[in-house]
Amino acid sequence: MSAAATHTGVRVEGLGKRYGQTRVLDDLDLEIRPGEFVALLGRSGSGKTTLLRTLAGLDPVEDGAVVVPRQVAVVFQEARLLPWKRVRDNVMLGLDGADARDRAEAALEEVGLAHRLDAWPLTLSGGEAQRVGIARALVRSPELLMLDEPFASLDALTRLRMHAMVDALWQKHRCAVLLVTHDVDEALTLGDRAVVLDRGRIRTTLPLTMQRPRRHDDPGFSAARRSLLAALDVHEAA
């Protein structure tokens, strides 16, 4: 079981996990400071999703120790909205208190969906649905927000807009974020630190210190991009 922490960051020590003969996570150590934005990269099958599911409490901790904050929220790749609840009610799901409705509406306004409060989820575009998912996570004021390839199925332009929105929301809420992604530019745009996972272990940690909001033509950006691609075994022709 993951214990509730006195500090509000994440600490993973010696986490191990196997499915049958396959070792998915192997003695993994990871720390996320309160308010830190960590981008987690790695090939398919490197254990990214298993790590996220363990931190979210969806998979049990078998070996090692995991400490996560009390308030954890997850945004999945598919928005996972309940199609039979209107947008507002999806965000309100599981909230209690007299102000739940106001809080949900405020969260939806933050993601730019104040005009879609009463819409049915099946009428939303992919980007809109994902923004509802983000509002549903933020309305719980999480200390740790986990995003599991949240923009992978969106078109390129929508994805860029979502990056700017997530950046702004994070600046405002200052929760710890773990972003699982395949997209190197996404990691470079948003992360304080990029962590590369390989065969269940952390292979590289790359601090990203470029000024925010980040621009792709920043020289520091291209340098970091090269290092990160090298860590992922992609070598660009010089």
Binding site: L58, R80, L93
Partner: protein
Amino acid sequence: MLDRVSSLPPARARAAPAVRDARRARVGALRRMVSPLLILVLWQAASWSGLVSPQTLASPLAILATATDLTRSGVLPHNLLVSLVRAGSGLAIAIAGGVVLALIAGLSRLGEDAIDAPMQMLRTLPALALVPLFILWFGIGETPKVALVALGAMIPIYLNLFKGIRAIDPKLLEMGRTLGLSQGQMIRQIVLPGALPDLLTGLRFSVGISWLMLVVAEQVNASSGIGHMMMDAQDFLRTDIILVGLLVYALLGLLSDQVVRWLERTLLAWRPAARVSA
């Protein structure tokens, strides 16, 4: 619908489609009325000419007159009410029982092992064959009739809801867990609404079965109800009363089907298909 669309000559469908479609739909609806009306006229003519005796088949006008008389005298309203109460209470028991059993079986493996096998066996049994046994057990009062309706109508509720619960997207349940929903909230917010389309499908079958069960129960052993009214009329060769009973059954079936359709449109408004047809 389909036959009308496919019978359109494609070349003529091009001109002013909206107006044409509306007019064609009206004409189509009228055309569909022609043959039933013709049958009624022929039937009435056959009765007047003496070709068909009233003991074999009462004429449409005679049926209408009988229906009016039975309504005025209170015989029809009384028997109709008795039948409605039987079908209604049987259906209510069926819904309650079917939902509870499907929830138990759908939400736990242990529950499935305990409940699903007997229910699947019960499903293969024609419920009407239970009439003699029910009369022995419950006598000839209201109990065997309501029990027969309840048992027959419960099976489709259970089967469809169970299937619906098992077909819930596990990703939604997982999402509910990450939001910290309690077991009760998961059932109320995710499982039941998610399985509601299947529950309503089951309800539609159940309503149909309820009437079927009621017909048999009331004709085999009853002292009131539409079925009894018809059996009574048989003794006096009153085909007009029998046909009024048939008409009432048909209307009840039609009406209850419309109610379930309305429920589907209202409760499943979130589905794109439901919105289009609404």
